[in-house]
């Protein structure tokens, strides 16, 4: 049976059904079902968030100034971007302007998080979709050294001896039977295309990335007081500045600490420039024939915009937002998260109830009322679903839409928007990267051909990490300049006391989170939270169909992708991972000795 979606996809459910549950190496719990035709090409895709997350409802009645501390616990990775969206929402509602120092410190923290998250995502969670560590054992260290010097000539760790050492460590590790680190791999699948040298280079950088993630997070400890759950504050940042102060624990920010921060930022800049970006381009060039996975990015993308140069002035966003529809990169439509007609969430296929399921609700009027109900074509039982019925409700994720359009969010969306906005730095980066890709691969792709793909999504993330490294170094210079000019203010506490607040207020806070546009909407009444709604990036990308039948970004991205071996879903994981899915973590208890492996069922 074939079903035509309004957003241009032809869904055919007649072929073999493949179920991947859970999708591993993501945050949270996700299930994916696809149908493949007789040539093993994906003709229908179903993305399901299998976890209830009602963070919004447990905030009811609490102090708005405390919300950040709760939302920081939504999930195990994006702590800071939820906390930031939350304090921004409250400041927006109460019209609180934060001091310039606070703005700059928050900017540095946000960009450090972005950089860190992108690096960790690529090397730890996504690389194994492209890189085969077992194959790295066959590499010639000398040839690896040559490859390194060709793709990343400024990276110092490139000698044959260095790669031989890494290879020996890997060999010992594999021989000791501890391949568990690289478990769930399909290492003999022909979907892996890298030569052993590229595999070995990637393994080496995986280890180097681990060293980096260790160092860069210390910036959060310095500005946020502690890590992994740094402190935020409505009205500014909870860290005082005293340039002549000492280094005692808990002491204010001083020059010594700022110098430490500067060093970390400089190292991050060098790593993304000399290692991360070149790695992605090099790996991509070996997959030049695998330009699948574009999905919605080829047509509809969205972001709210972020990284204001002038606090409070969205026109100065260094990654400007908006919406692009129908692949028209020449026209960026403006987005207003306040407009009730623009961002709306639908639940026709989600396990929630609005009463009238054809309606979309703006987040300020959002309702989170669970209704777990399976469609008549479900195979299995309520507690053991073998096949979902996507004609009915099938996910715990709602389906957000922009003026009714399904859109993709994330670094790739932001980069396409920045291209549309003519952001020079970004355009140069894209042209340079696509040019280097073409040289290595012997192709002549344009950015518009190359970017809307799984590889393009992964490349945009790397380029964005590097842009963030550049911007945070600029922020740092401005911070030092402002402090030297005599401004040491870090918080505006004029409206700290709820007695100064209006009886009713509402606001929205948006953040360019690692996985895409993240927004929190708050309604305050009598000094307490009346309603709180988060629409997070993975809701946009991973949400189910809407009442009109439009499919979302995850589902669209899998369409028409050929699979080498349906029982080994390398291609599905590769494309889903390129979004860095984050389905907000929650409880996860497991029986003794229990080891959760991805179950793949083919019917």
């Amino acid at each position: 049976m074939t079903l035509q979606t309004p957003n241009g996809f032809s869904l055919d459910t007649s072929g073999k059904r493949i179920v991947v549950d859970p999708v591993t190496r993501i945050e949270g719990h996700m299930r994916c079902e696809v149908n493949v035709d007789s040539n093993n090409v994906i003709r229908n895709a179903v993305s399901t968030g299998t976890m209830w997350r009602g963070l919004e409802v447990i905030l009811k009645g609490r102090d708005p100034r405390d919300a950040w501390a709760f939302v920081e616990r939504i999930c195990g990775v994006c702590t800071g971007c939820h906390a930031l969206a939350s304090v921004r929402a409250v400041e927006d509602a109460l019209d609180i302007k934060i001091p310039y120092n606070a703005h700059l410190i928050r900017e540095i923290m946000a960009k450090v998080l972005q950089w860190h998250d992108h690096v960790v995502h690529f090397y730890h969670l996504h690389a194994l979709d492209w890189v085969n560590p077992v194959n790295a054992l066959k590499a010639d260290p000398k040839a690896t050294s040559q490859l390194q010097q060709m793709v990343g000539p400024d990276h110092p760790m490139s000698s044959p001896g260095y790669f031989r050492d890494i290879q020996n460590r890997l060999k010992k590790f594999v021989e000791s039977g501890q391949l568990g680190l690289f478990k769930n791999g399909y290492w003999d699948n022909p979907a892996y295309k890298l030569p052993p040298e590229a595999d070995l280079m990637a393994v080496a950088h995986y280890l180097e990335a681990l060293d980096f993630q260790k160092e860069i997070v210390k910036v959060h400890t310095i500005f946020g007081g502690k890590n992994p759950h740094p402190n935020y504050m409505v009205g500014g940042v909870p860290c005082a500045i005293n340039m002549d102060g000492n280094m005692a624990a808990g002491a204010p920010l001083n020059m010594e600490r700022l110098n430490f921060v500067h060093q970390r930022l400089t190292e991050a800049y060098a790593f993304s420039k000399n290692v991360y970006v070149p790695d992605v381009i090099a790996i991509a060039s070996f997959y030049k024939d695998w330009l699948y996975g574009g999905g919605l990015s080829a047509t509809n993308v969205m972001d709210y915009g972020d990284y204001e140069l002038v606090p409070g002035d969205k026109k100065t966003d260094q990654l400007p937002g908006g919406v692009i529809l129908n692949g028209n990169w020449d026209e960026v439509l403006p987005i207003d998260p306040r407009d009730p007609e623009q961002v709306q969430e639908f639940v026709a296929h989600s396990w929630y109830s609005y009463g009238d399921e054809t309606r979309g609700l703006h987040p300020w009027d959002g309702v989170t009322e669970p209704k777990f109900q399976l469609g008549p074509k479900t195979v299995g039982t309520r507690t053991d679903i073998r096949e979902l019925d996507e004609a009915a409700k099938y996910s715990w994720i709602k389906a957000p839409r922009w003026r009714g359009h399904a859109v993709e969010v994330g670094p790739l969306a932001r980069y396409i928007l920045a291209w549309g906005h003519n952001v020079t730095f970004v355009k140069d980066q894209i042209n340079d990267a696509v040019g280097r890709f073409n040289t290595l691969a012997g192709t002549s792709l344009t950015p518009k051909q190359a970017l809307p793909s799984t590889i393009g999504r992964t490349l945009a993330r790397a380029l964005e990490a590097h842009y963030c490294a550049k911007m945070m170094l600029d922020d740092f210079e401005r911070l030092i300049g402002n402090i030297k000019a005599g401004d040491s203010s870090t918080a505006n506490v004029e409206k700290w006391d709820p007695a100064t607040w209006p009886k009713e207020a509402k606001g929205v806070g948006t953040v360019a989170a690692p996985r895409g546009g993240n927004a929190h909407w708050i309604k305050i009444r009598d000094g307490r939270i009346e309603n709180y709604q988060c629409v997070v990036p993975t809701t946009w990308n991973g949400g189910p169909r809407d009442p009109q039948g439009n499919i979302g970004a995850f589902e669209a991205s899998l369409m028409n992708t050929p699979m080498e071996r349906p029982e080994e879903p390398v291609e599905i994981l590769r494309t889903l991972h390129s979004f860095d899915p984050c389905l907000a973590c929650s409880t996860h208890v497991i029986a003794p000795g229990g080891e959760e492996m991805a179950r793949v069922t083919v019917r």
């Binding site: 993501i26 976890m51 616990r73 939504i74 990775v77 478990k183 989170t368 409880t587």
Partner: protein, 203 residues
């Protein structure tokens, strides 16, 4: 070795009732006891792989957590070294479902696994209570678990642990256990149940 670096790590998600046990025990430890510089108490939340830097720096680690051993609810259990990773299954510390075993494997690959590893665990009673605090039976095990941690620190590691004279903030005040539990919205306002299918496995 008296100055070996010791990490006391509370893990779990405070938003899911008894899942917050580990964090709450370490919160009490930090609030009431003065720890020497070489002992660090850490609220690990559900940060998984992101805890690697702290684990790498540590010579010894004491983990406090809610663990499903299949025992009676509220049973406390003390495990050490090789016994630990088997219990901390793949989904437990779940940054992107990088299980604790994977984190340990990574530490070994890099040659910096802690030489001693302890786990103070409790069998949870209730997890499917979103926004909830510790259940009564599990809350009653906070003190005994804390006593176990203190005992490990003093007898096993020779650490001098003194009473704190001033209360110190550990978790942000807004989500300190007392405030978190006292200001909880009513059940009719805030749905407290989880997804039956996900929770089915543990019941």
């Amino acid at each position: 070795m008296s100055d070996e670096r010791i990490l006391v790590l509370g893990i779990g998600n405070i938003l899911w009732a008894d899942e917050g046990f580990g964090v709450r025990v370490v919160e009490e430890l930090e609030a009431r006891y003065e720890l020497p510089d070489h002992v660090r108490a850490l609220d690990g939340g559900t940060q998984g792989l992101y805890l690697l830097p702290y684990l790498e720096e540590a010579d010894a680690v004491i983990i406090v957590d809610a663990i499903d051993y299949g025992l009676l609810p509220a049973s406390l259990k003390l495990l050490r070294d090789e016994e630990v990773p088997a219990i901390l299954g793949a989904r437990k510390v779940s940054l992107h479902q990088t299980g604790f075993q994977e984190v340990l494997a990574l530490l070994r690959f890099r040659g910096c696994a802690p030489s001693r590893l302890w786990l103070v665990g409790v069998q949870p009673e209730r997890l499917d209570d979103y926004g909830g605090g510790l259940t009564e039976a599990i809350a009653a095990q906070v003190e005994p678990a804390l006593a176990l941690v203190i005992d490990l620190l003093t007898t096993e590691f020779g650490v001098t642990v003194g009473r704190r004279r001033f209360a110190a903030g550990f978790t942000a005040p807004a989500i300190s256990r007392a405030k978190y539990e006292a200001e909880r919205p009513a059940a009719e306002e805030a749905c407290r149940i989880g997804d039956a299918r996900v929770l089915a496995g543990w019941r």
